[in-house]
């Protein structure tokens, strides 16, 4: 067996080569920071399940990525976050959907895995489960960024759903003529 290994992503999509530095650099810094969190966790002997939860929590806390704080907005200008986690050794897994106040959805997904006989809880019941377990929650407005309000306006203007990194403009060519990517 070789040593430990870790990979992480901050989303993908229609990222043009001329992506502005003022958007690119904060995302690269955030990736480096979250990678360092994962490497330190491994070096301190944490198991893979703890490592992936820790890293995704850090990524959720970065407003530049579409998860946790910085989540994008639905057509109704609401936030609906979702997450899942899975342990390869036992195949135990947990998932949540439809959250709008939970600061770290990935930790709630892990609680579903560890504290219930189920795999998946969603919407109001998932929010109630979060409160019952003292998971950190905030007003939804704390999770919304001005950039994402602007992006929803752009998407509505072009009557499209928007790719994570689409530059606003007429419908994207290719797949369905719309970019529907999370």
């Amino acid at each position: 067996m070789v040593g430990w290994a870790i990979a992480l992503h901050g989303g993908g999509g229609d990222i043009q080569l001329d992506y502005p530095d003022e958007l690119r650099i904060p995302r690269e810094i955030a990736l480096r920071h979250c990678l360092d969190v994962g490497v330190s966790a491994f070096k301190s002997g944490k198991p893979p399940l703890d490592v992936v939860e820790l890293v995704v929590r850090e990524l959720e806390n970065q407003p530049v990525f579409n998860a946790g704080k910085g989540s994008v907005l639905t057509a109704e200008c609401t936030i609906e976050m979702e997450a899942s986690i899975m342990d390869g050794k036992t195949k135990r897994c947990g998932a949540v959907s439809g959250l709008n106040t939970v600061v770290n959805p990935i930790s709630l997904a892990r609680l579903v895995m560890e504290k219930t006989p189920h795999v998946y809880l969603a919407f109001n019941a998932a929010e109630a489960f979060a409160r019952a377990h003292g998971v950190e929650t905030v007003e939804t407005s704390h999770l919304i960024t001005p950039e994402n309000i602007q992006r929803l306006k752009q998407a509505k203007e072009f009557n499209r759903v928007q790719l994570d990194y689409t530059s606003p403009g007429p419908k994207a060519q290719g797949y369905h003529g719309e970019s529907q990517t999370g």
Partner: protein, 133 residues
Amino acid sequence: TVGCVAVDSAGNLASATSTGGYVNKMAGRIGDSPIIGAGTYANHLCAVSATGQGEDIIRGTVARDVAALMEYKGLSLTEAAAYVIDQSVPKGSCGFIAVSANGEVTMPFNTNGMFRACATEDGYTEIGIWPKN
């Protein structure tokens, strides 16, 4: 969408994915990230976390396909991932990260770019957005 996969030196694997969905989506729409076997999967062979067009990733059962190709066709992680990114989803719709029990790391995507990073115990690290070449 964000995600992380990890394997320790004993070959134990885990995967985690989290997202806000996509801009202007219908309220109530569920994407691939919380669907085990689509955007997130881990077993004794590999751990996978995906990002992209959720409906296509669900239709393609992307994360489970990678594991199944390793399990039933004996492909390596890199081979299984390359097959899935080329065959299981439309071009321009998906990317994922994956690690295997023997420490392989792969981060393929068929979109213009994917924000990604990886590190291994032997000191290798990579941070990228666009294809390496």
